[in-house]
């Protein structure tokens, strides 16, 4: 009886421990799976808040803040009201800074987000702001590539930037196409550090590639 009781206590206590990180993993997985469809559904703001709550509750996980920042950036890009972009970019920047503080340094994925934040700011008034934010955006892409050469996301960002740059400035669909094509196998080959680490981007890369033909 004592042995069984002890066994039960051990099982229930370990259950309790696994339950907490199970909870974290489950909540993260649930929200991560909704990211790709958030562009169509328009619920990027809701996902951003979900991730932020997880981050505030856990306190020592960088990924919730990373995803919260990413969802804020997506929300900013979708919102047609450009007067709100700077405030959204500020919020995204706060969140990615929290993520990097927890990590103790930047990494390839956080640099990808920082590049997107700079692009969001630039889109408020491209003619005036490209000189200030253009270089920040491209420098972060370069850092992301150096920190992890297997990461497909900086390649995707670079290709997307070329896609939207006018041909007379050295951009355009023809220049972007090979970069998108380079990114696709990188997405397939990419090995994320955990099941919660970022893997987004293949669907949008394929969409852009279809637009290049």
């Amino acid at each position: 009886m004592k042995k069984t009781l002890l066994l039960l206590v051990i099982i229930s206590s370990s259950n309790f421990l696994f339950a907490q990180s199970d909870k974290y993993v489950a909540a993260m997985k649930k929200n991560i799976s909704q990211i790709d469809s958030s562009i169509q559904k328009g619920n990027a703001a809701e996902l951003a808040n979900n991730f932020e709550r997880i981050g505030d509750a856990e306190k020592n996980q960088w990924l919730p803040y990373y995803y919260a920042s990413y969802c804020n950036v997506v929300k900013g890009f979708i919102d047609p009201d450009k007067t709100k972009s700077d405030a959204t970019a500020d919020k995204a920047e706060q969140l990615i800074t929290k993520a990097e503080e927890i990590l103790g340094k930047e990494n390839s994925e956080t640099d990808v987000i920082k590049s997107m934040i700079a692009s969001l700011r630039m889109m408020v008034d491209p003619q005036t702001r490209w000189q200030q934010y253009g270089p920040i955006s491209s420098q972060n892409i370069e850092k992301a590539k150096e920190l992890d050469p297997t990461n497909p996301r900086p390649i995707y960002l670079e290709a997307q930037a070329k896609f939207y740059t006018p041909e007379s400035f050295g951009g355009g669909k023809a220049v972007a196409k090979p970069l998108f094509e380079k990114a696709i196998p990188m997405f397939d080959a990419f090995k994320p550090e955990s099941e919660l680490h970022p893997t987004w981007g293949k669907a949008t890369t394929e969409y852009f590639l279809s637009q290049c033909n």
């Binding site: 069984t4 808040n49 007379s168």
Partner: protein, 745 residues
């Protein structure tokens, strides 16, 4: 055992929390985050402001509600199984992004602020401006198209009623020395400035001694990167270096420019006969040091020389000429320091020292350019003269600002202006006379910015001044209010009293004088979106105690303050960057109705520097395929009055003749070609500029000059029908992106 398991795996009772989020005006807020502190549980409000979620937590917890631009809301809730329904109203934070801005009377050009209508790049690329700040401001409502004399003539005021300030302190010689019949340029390169505020009236208590307007310029901070700059055009060569320290905390730089109009005058016919073609040397140096995270010391200094000489037909004779010659050397130093002192206190201080030497001479010459010394009639003897003026100027200002709740703040400070001008005259017969005019002006001012909510803002200020020259005090109120009418539109009102001392050229005076006074009332409405701006302003200016002058010992000098006048009008401004693809245009219209009695005017008349209707259209189009920006600017103004005002044989000034010039119109066109644009990592930035002023060659007449006997009337026209400019500017950046990568790995 099984019971234990059943108890263990029993689910907790879930509590439902729901409600509606609104702002203080009962408008639902979407995207608001509602959460239980330290738990995953929460929700985001939908488009109707409603939210609903379930939580597993039990007992006392904190409900947190946050939204960008609003004060966060917290409440303790007890989670004991019963559903909680909570409607929450959030208070808006008074932030720069949301608050109404007081704009009555002023146009701002800077990169940051919400209410800016121009960017610094706009000033440089406006076609008719030729990269002169004043030229660009003349396309905005409020200033007149006066081409015969330099400066800004604003809302019925003369150019001396408009003063320019750099980093807070007065600039005594903002324009190059006056030459007869010409509007000289500003001395400063527009690329030096990150912020420009053109106030056509109602400006803050921090500035004074300008009856009409203040041009407030703020110099750039640290450059983004080190660079070398080179400019080549057919009339000037300039080169410079800007060095940014590796730690990005300081920078220094210098430039030198050599201007010689020899080739320009060979290609473009000039009406005056230039015997000394204008040659200018301009050198400047700067340094900027970040003293702390929030403080900076900036220094900017210039040294420039100008040499010019030209002949024009003498109006009082037939076949004789006046030969004017000018040699100027000017040195200007500006040191400023901004620092946050802690406890919400901020200090802004500025100091400037400048010296100016003008060596001017006028010689009466015959058809063979030989000096003619004629003493009969007497007026001809005054045509031969020389004057050397030395000016020394010191300006200092300190402002202490304390931030209160939200955006509210109070500031107070003091300003000191010293000027000493010594003029050495040499008359036709060799007699020498000297004059020294000194002034010490001490001012104190206080101002409060009051933001009660995001919808109402007020600025209340007062300024007191003491002039040693007049030996008098003055104290003036400055009040302005702004009220937000809707999301993008607001109304502003400004009221203020402005005092000014007499112009140095009418001194010394042999009478006891007072300050000239102007009272401004301005009402403005504006609607601003990301791509369109609409502004309209109605104003009334009352002038009192204006200076009256008369000939005293052969010179025009101030005699009393019996002058007066008024100016009223309405102005419109519309800017649209969106409607036509890739085209950015603005339209300004000013209506001005003004009369005044001052200087030698025998009565109150419409002054010659005011046109009733003035309109400008500025268009900019960027063609990406050609990497070129095309700029056009067209200005139209109705004719200005002109008068022949002379003393009669009883020495009383009378109007012997008057008229009105024909309407003024001028089209300016310029092209900027940027071959390197669009390469974000480019280290070289090049721009080619080509511009033409007065494309259609309209024969514009600014005014008329009369001979002494009134029989001869000469039109005052621009020195050449058109002017062309062709130049290339290259900025070589020293790429620091490698440093960035190395420092972060």
């Amino acid at each position: 055992m099984i019971a234990f398991l059943i108890i263990y795996s029993a689910t907790h009772a879930q509590v439902n929390i729901s409600g509606k989020i609104t702002n203080t005006k009962n408008k639902p807020l979407a995207g608001v985050s509602i959460s239980i502190k330290d738990s995953y549980d929460g929700a985001t409000s939908d488009s109707t402001g409603n939210f609903s979620f379930y939580t597993d937590e039990k007992g006392e917890h904190t409900l947190e509600v946050t939204a960008t631009g609003y004060r966060p809301f917290e409440q303790i809730v007890n989670l004991n199984g019963t559903p909680i329904k909570q409607n929450i109203s959030l208070k808006e934070l008074v932030t720069e992004l949301n608050a109404v801005v007081i704009t009555a009377g002023s146009f701002e050009a800077s990169d940051q602020k919400k209410t800016t209508v121009l960017s610094p790049l706009d000033i440089v690329t406006t076609a008719s401006a030729n990269a002169d700040i004043t030229g660009a401001i003349k396309t905005l409502p409020g200033s007149q198209q006066v081409g015969e004399s330099e400066g800004l003539f604003v809302r019925g005021g003369t150019a001396s009623e408009s003063k320019t300030f750099i980093d807070g302190t007065l600039v005594n010689n903002f324009y190059y020395t006056s030459e007869p019949g010409l509007a000289t340029r500003g001395r400063f390169n527009p690329f030096l400035f990150k912020g420009t505020i053109f106030s056509a009236g109602g400006y803050s208590a921090l500035y004074g001694q300008a009856l009409s307007s203040a041009l407030i310029l703020e110099s750039i901070d640290l450059p983004e990167r080190s660079s070398a700059d080179l400019g080549i055009s057919y009339l000037a060569l300039n080169g410079g270096l800007q060095h940014l320290a590796k730690n990005k905390k300081s920078s220094w730089g210098f430039t030198y420019a050599y201007t010689d109009l020899w080739l320009a005058f060979k290609l473009i016919n000039q009406k005056p006969d230039y015997y000394t073609i204008p040659v200018l040397h301009n050198a400047d140096a700067n340094f900027r040091i970040k003293t702390s995270k929030t403080g900076m010391i900036k220094y900017y200094g210039t040294l420039s020389t100008t040499r010019v000489g030209f002949r024009y037909a003498d109006i009082d004779s037939v076949g004789m000429k006046d030969a004017f010659s000018l040699y100027n050397i000017n040195m200007y130093h500006n040191l400023s320091w901004k620092e946050r002192l802690g406890n919400g206190l901020k200090m802004i201080s500025g100091f400037s020292y400048s010296t100016n030497k003008d060596d001017i001479s006028n010689e009466l010459q015959n058809g063979d350019n030989q000096k003619q010394l004629i003493t009969n009639p007497v007026l001809f003897s005054f045509k031969n003269f020389g004057v050397v003026t030395h000016g020394n100027y010191v300006n200092a200002k300190v402002v202490i600002e304390k931030r209160l709740k939200g955006l509210s703040a109070i500031r107070f400070g003091s300003e000191y202006n010293h000027s000493r001008e010594k003029s050495d005259f040499t008359l036709f017969n060799g007699t020498k006379a000297a004059e020294i005019i000194k002034e010490n002006l001490l001012s104190g001012f206080a101002e409060a910015d009051i933001y009660l909510t995001n919808d109402v803002a007020a600025k209340l200020g007062a300024r007191a001044e003491h002039s040693q020259l007049l030996d008098k005090w003055n104290i003036a109120p400055r009040i302005s209010l702004a009220y937000k009418l809707a999301d993008n539109s607001q109304a502003s009102f400004a009221y203020g009293i402005f005092y000014q001392g007499p112009e140095r050229k009418y001194l010394p005076s042999y009478s006891k004088l007072n300050y000239a006074k102007a009272t401004h009332y301005i009402l403005q409405y504006q609607k601003l979106t990301n791509s369109r701006t609409f502004r309209t302003e109605i104003f009334y200016k009352k002038y009192d105690d204006l200076f009256k002058t008369s000939l005293t010992y052969g010179r025009e000098a101030v005699v009393d303050n019996n002058g007066y006048g008024d100016a009223k009008g309405i102005e419109f401004f519309w800017r649209d960057k969106k409607t036509i693809k890739n085209v950015d245009y603005w339209i300004s219209y000013s209506y001005l109705d003004t009369k005044r009695d001052f200087l030698t005017y025998p009565t109150s008349i419409e002054p010659p520097f005011a046109a009733k209707h003035t309109a400008s259209l500025v268009i900019k189009k960027f063609v990406t395929k050609l990497k070129t920006q095309f700029n056009g600017s067209y200005t139209y103004a109705t004719g200005r009055p002109y008068y022949n005002i002379r003393p009669d044989n009883t020495n009383t000034y009378k109007i012997f003749d008057k008229g009105r010039t024909k309407d003024y119109n001028s089209l300016g066109f310029s092209i900027n070609y940027l071959p390197g644009i669009g390469k974000p990592n480019a280290t070289r930035f090049t721009v080619f500029v080509f511009s033409i002023t007065n494309v259609f060659g309209s024969n514009n007449i600014y005014s008329y000059n009369y001979s002494y006997d009134g029989r001869n009337k000469q039109p005052v026209t621009p020195p050449s029908r058109r002017f062309y400019f062709l130049g290339c500017f290259i900025s070589f950046g020293i790429d620091r992106s490698d440093d960035v990568i190395n420092n972060n790995l």
